[in-house]
Symmetry: C2
Subunit: 457 residues, 2 copies
Amino acid sequence: MFDPVEKLKEFIRHPSVSTDPKFHEGMKGAQEFVASLLTSLGFSVDVVKTELHPIIFAQRGGDKSWPHLVIYGHYDVQPADPLNLWKTPAFEPTIVGNRIYGRGAADNKGPLLTNIAAVARALEDDPKLPLRITFLIEGEEEMGSPSFPKFLERYADKLREADFVYLSDTALPNENQVVLTSGLRGLALFDVHITGAKGDLHSGLHGGVLLNPIQALAEIIASLHTPDGRVNVPGFYDAVLDVHPWEREELAKLGADEKSYAEFLGIEAFHTAPGFSPFEAVRFQPTLEFNGIGGGYQGEGTKTVIPSKAFAKISCRLVPNQEPDKIKRLVMDAILARKPRGVKLEFVDQHKGDPYVVVPPDRSNTPKDQSPVLARAFRAAEKAVTEVWGRPPIYLREGGSVPIIAEIKRKTGLDSVMFGLFLPEDNLHAPNESFNLDVMRKGIETTRRMLVALAKG
Amino acid sequence: MFDPVEKLKEFIRHPSVSTDPKFHEGMKGAQEFVASLLTSLGFSVDVVKTELHPIIFAQRGGDKSWPHLVIYGHYDVQPADPLNLWKTPAFEPTIVGNRIYGRGAADNKGPLLTNIAAVARALEDDPKLPLRITFLIEGEEEMGSPSFPKFLERYADKLREADFVYLSDTALPNENQVVLTSGLRGLALFDVHITGAKGDLHSGLHGGVLLNPIQALAEIIASLHTPDGRVNVPGFYDAVLDVHPWEREELAKLGADEKSYAEFLGIEAFHTAPGFSPFEAVRFQPTLEFNGIGGGYQGEGTKTVIPSKAFAKISCRLVPNQEPDKIKRLVMDAILARKPRGVKLEFVDQHKGDPYVVVPPDRSNTPKDQSPVLARAFRAAEKAVTEVWGRPPIYLREGGSVPIIAEIKRKTGLDSVMFGLFLPEDNLHAPNESFNLDVMRKGIETTRRMLVALAKG
């Protein structure tokens, strides 16, 4: 079988930033890398064209009585800027100790390759393994998967033949404790642009006669939270579901330590909605965050202008049963209602995604009609994790978003088994992203055992 | 005599951005251009080295009984960014109709060259003109003249031999009405930097547990004004002097029209401190403005980070008798008092400048000990303006700042006669800066007549 670490290096070297057209070559390289790897494993590979980046749809068929899983992953990565904060080149994989550094190492190239390697090993051991496997690997996850809904419509019938989705695009709390992710937050993103005068003005000649767009924007931003840390938008929390007691019990098993978490983040104090610990807040509460702000002169020294424009990039993380479109509307309405006189305001809509929950077998709220193969997969995963890591997994919702998981559920009815593989210190979406190679090694063995157990029934 | 317009083109072609070391060659070129022009007019030119950009000190001596004026100007310009908003190249002078476009055309290359050309013409007409003239032309005005105080200490004795300072670095309200500027606002500038977590964080994995630095900054910014448009900092207005009735009378002569001004700025509504028209506010009231803001992701699309840092660039325009250091302290103290818990805050100090007023002869508050030569200069300027422009000048304070004018007054006792030459539509400090060539032509003739009248007594 191929060497997973060498293959991961090769994968990282393709700079596959999906949001930036400058990285067209890197996207193509990463897509071809995955397609050819799956072809070499005997998969029948379709590279499905979309309006932007192709989706790889690769199948290993078999008897209709065999369990059928869809392994999801993505070959695109976040932008690497600010580049000056990287200690090693962002797209030149560098191994230091048991970590491999590079953009996409943890999100999602390392975890995806872990699952591909597990499949490769299982099929090497038993080329006749009674298991149908479909790989579904997209190139637009980091931009909100705009082509995915259309793809899903075309491929929904094929996907409905499967039993469940399996993916590693969620987090482990630490390298000794596996989490099977039971929920994901949704997303609602848009930008706010404020315009004052028709051009930048001299702050001496005109200062004192008009409202500065930076001030107008700051007033709006400052109004969107209450001092105690809740989102200050009427109706924002109306659809939020209560947390089930078993979820709090699982979270208690995490034994998470607030002091270490604060030190890890480098903050003096937490700032959570009242009644929630930081570990609860990130899993069970929605947010409204400011991802970026800009306006006027940002260079060294001074430039005494009153800028014409200022903008902010806003994102909400949503929990069941908040609806992204409804939340966007509520937040935009609140912003419009708070717009001061004398400036213009425009929204630029960005992407969105529904929140998602899946309930493992034998819980108080497990659906009565849960797929028996899904239940078997959860139990096989629990057993494999316990064998390889020395302790059972815990089921936790996580704060991140993989919007297509909810999309797949809605369009095909398939639920997802989410085997977390990246660690808090992996620096996802930030400079110096890395992936733990011990986690990768154990992850390959875990998924291999899960696949074999699932196939053997 | 030289052709003033051709000379101005040559001057603009030197990209003399003082704040940016990349423009070292442009600074050198502009400085040598001015020095060699003054040498060609028979001046004895010293290029006085400073820690940064040299000051040109050029003298035409003469009998001690002759009036002696110091003509001030600066050869540096503001940065030209954002370059993509320029319709013609920023450093390639382009004449369209009666305007010349280019960075520095109006601030201060055109007006400075107007006064040099007036001197050239007066000396060509009468090489024995009984007038002592000193040119004092610096290269750091757009960065707050950091080398000027040290220079003033060394040259204070030489400057005290003069009677007054003459300059054209202020504004005309329109091309038919000359203003002799009777006051300038001061400046106090600094940046605020907010830091949250030690690095950018994934807004899903960690969103909801910490205070976003953009939010902290927005809360601070939003707190610095009251809804009615006053600066919301305790003590900010304490030292502000009342306006003299003759100043309001002069302003009434301006016949300024709020509707046209709003259209010129492209705003829907003014936002002035209560009790002040926009024309009064800009002259008689201090401000606190945000010149820039930045933090997090500012590119296309989305990047779902919680940024580690955010910053704002703040500037106050001050009126007599506000003291820049005291105002900085008051504003910084207010900001510190309003810093929310959980983020760090740092200030980066920038430059400052005192406000300035000069009272023309025969006013209720004209100082009893006003220099007779200064009074003669004002009267000569009034007469020259009336002859060339067809109507007398009005005396107005202006909103802009030329901090060295107050500095010269404090160190040498010299007051300034400020003959405004740029127009509101000249786009100072903004893209597509230009200078009106009709104003330049009339300006040359006005200053020439003023010089001759002053010399003849």
